[in-house]
């Protein structure tokens, strides 16, 4: 008996599948408009204590101590840029794993898995809408935060965006690997919360990593995200960078290729294993 599939997967059908997944997520997102408002205001709420704390360390609105580490006394632009980038990191890094968990809980993961669509495409598709909504909500967040706290990017916006792209693409590799962990462990909330908090913290989302205690600096330098944050800030805010910007961009490009390969390899191995064990439908 032949077991060939009746479907005829082509590049066009895969693209259509990506579009359908993104459209479904778009509908779900706007079904809960309070979530959109929350996405805009949550980051503002989290940086407000930093704004007032910074005032307690500042003289005439300039954080001179901060400038010794970062090369700029405008700590709020520094923090806001880190917050906006963190939004994207959360979307790509953790978004795919969470999407899998949602599908598990809703009981649709197995049926989605039976469709003739590449599983990595399913994962990527789940991030498309969130990337778009994160872009919209982050822009609104920056506009509101600029009015409240001041946000003064004076550098090269195009170069900053081009630098952020390999970082985000490389994060897809991380995302695949994390999705594999969710497939295996099924419940990974504490691990996600703690590790996302630590990764963002130690890669310098809110402060220059040079200010870390000396024993923590190696941890920070091992995270490729550190160079992403640093280079984007270097372009936009003309801060002093850890390494020359070109070197940091090169690190990000290498990181992108290595992580994409590694993440996809891990995910495919784990996915085969859970299919063999038949644990895909368990949660």
């Amino acid at each position: 008996m032949e077991t060939t599939t009746l479907s005829q997967p082509t590049f066009a059908t895969q693209l259509r599948a990506l579009f359908v997944i993104a459209k479904k997520d778009w509908k779900v997102f706007w079904r809960y408009p309070l979530n959109a408002i929350s996405h805009v205001f949550q980051p503002i709420i989290w940086v407000t204590p930093v704004y007032f704390m910074g005032k307690a360390f500042s003289t005439n609105g300039q954080a001179l101590g901060f400038a010794q580490y970062s090369g700029t006394g405008d700590y709020m632009s520094y923090v806001l840029l880190g917050t906006a980038l963190s939004n994207f990191i959360l979307t790509v890094f953790w978004g795919m794993g969470f999407a899998l968990k949602e599908d598990m809980d809703a009981g649709v993961l197995e049926s989605n898995w039976l469709t003739p669509v590449s599983r990595l495409h399913i994962l990527v598709g789940r991030t498309l809408t969130s990337l778009l909504t994160t872009t919209i909500t982050s822009i609104i967040m920056l506009i509101i935060a600029a009015a409240l706290f001041g946000f003064r990017p004076t550098g090269n916006v195009i170069a900053a965006i081009l630098t952020a792209i390999p970082m985000l693409v490389g994060l897809y590799g991380f995302g695949f690997a994390f999705a594999a962990i969710v497939l295996m462990m099924r419940e990974a909330n504490t691990m996600v919360d703690v590790s996302s908090f630590l990764v963002q913290g130690f890669s310098g989302a809110n402060f220059p990593v040079k200010s870390l205690p000396y024993w923590l600096i190696p941890v920070s330098l091992m995270l490729p995200l550190t160079y992403g944050f640093d280079a984007v800030r270097g372009w936009l805010l003309q801060t002093s960078t850890l390494l020359p910007i070109n070197v940091e961009v090169a690190i990000l490009i290498i990181f992108m290729f290595v992580m994409l390969w590694f993440g996809a390899w891990i995910f495919n191995r784990v996915e085969r294993k859970v299919r063999r064990l038949g644990t895909l439908g368990q949660h």
């Binding site: 360390f57 101590g65 010794q68 402060f207």
Partner: protein, 289 residues
């Protein structure tokens, strides 16, 4: 032959039976809590890493030569910025955890499908909420102790005041913090999906109560809002008792405000619970989710 049906309950409620029911709820919650040992990891890690992010930002703001720190000391009167931040963030985490644990206690039971059947038992229904508070208080005490030990060990934070007075401020804060949790539980059971409310309340604490900065740095209108929030007095009182060696007389304004807020929130929490209970019986909303 006519048969008269009595609608009287077979239960014989009394103080002792209510106490037994309360204890049964406390024991059940403790058993469920122990069943998922991953809380141990959370209990050890969160007290350290949440304040640490603000502390590391403050370290960067201090500068290599400590010039920023000198400005901070001048502004706040506190030389130890780590202790200063830890007190504020711990109060925030305490309120946040109570909102999730106590505030969602009834909702979680509703989602498990056990709320309606429990509601039918001849028990004082407020004990369902009070019962959740018992294990919560134990874990929060552990949480605060672990915070003190970790920051003492890893960051060298030492109390420069009277620990008994700091404890007194914490004890005086309990009615306000848990009263808010009770009020919240009734709102959650009525509004169902209420995560946004938690984000709102904890966001207000984060913005207005000075968790990492003195409230005096806020604009005038924000300072006025802060005076209406008990967490402002908790943070101020605990910092003064733990690090500024404040006397009982100096702490009295904070303690007085906390007692007043405690009475207000406990009363409001109880009244809202009664309103929710009546409404739920009238509309049958207890079983809906």
């Amino acid at each position: 032959m006519e048969v008269t049906l009595s609608s009287r309950s077979l239960g014989k409620p009394g103080f002792l039976s209510d106490l037994r029911a309360f204890w049964a709820i406390v024991w059940r919650e403790w058993t469920i809590f122990k069943r998922y040992p991953s809380w141990i990891i959370a209990l050890l890690i969160w007290p350290l890493i949440f304040p640490m992010m603000y502390i590391l930002t403050a370290r960067a703001l201090s500068g290599m030569d400590g010039s920023g720190l000198a400005v901070f000391t001048q502004t706040t009167g506190a030389s130890n910025f780590i202790g200063y931040i830890v007190v504020g963030t711990t109060v925030w985490m305490w309120q946040n955890i109570v909102l999730w644990d106590v505030g969602f206690a009834l909702r979680n039971e509703q989602m498990r499908g056990t709320l309606e059947s429990n509601w039918l038992s001849p028990t004082w229904r407020f004990s369902y909420l009070l019962g959740h508070t018992g294990p919560q208080l134990i874990t929060m005490t552990m949480f605060i102790l672990i915070t003190a030990i970790e920051f003492g060990l890893f960051f060298g934070v030492r109390l420069n005041g009277n620990p008994w007075l700091a404890l007194l401020v914490m004890l005086t804060s309990i009615p306000a913090i848990y009263g808010l949790g009770f009020a919240f539980a009734s709102i959650v059971i009525t509004a169902k999906e209420a995560h946004t409310f938690v984000f709102l309340v904890r966001g207000l604490v984060m913005i207005f109560c000075g968790i990492t900065f003195p409230v005096s740095l806020l604009p005038g209108w924000m300072q006025s809002v802060a005076t209406w929030m008990p967490q402002t007095y908790m943070i101020h009182g605990m910092r003064a008792a733990a690090f500024a060696n404040a006397s009982l007389t100096e702490l009295w304004p904070d303690l007085q405000a906390l007692l007043l807020f405690g009475a207000f929130w406990l009363t409001l929490g109880y009244l809202l619970f009664q309103w929710m209970e009546r409404r739920a019986r009238r509309t049958g909303a207890i079983g809906q989710y």
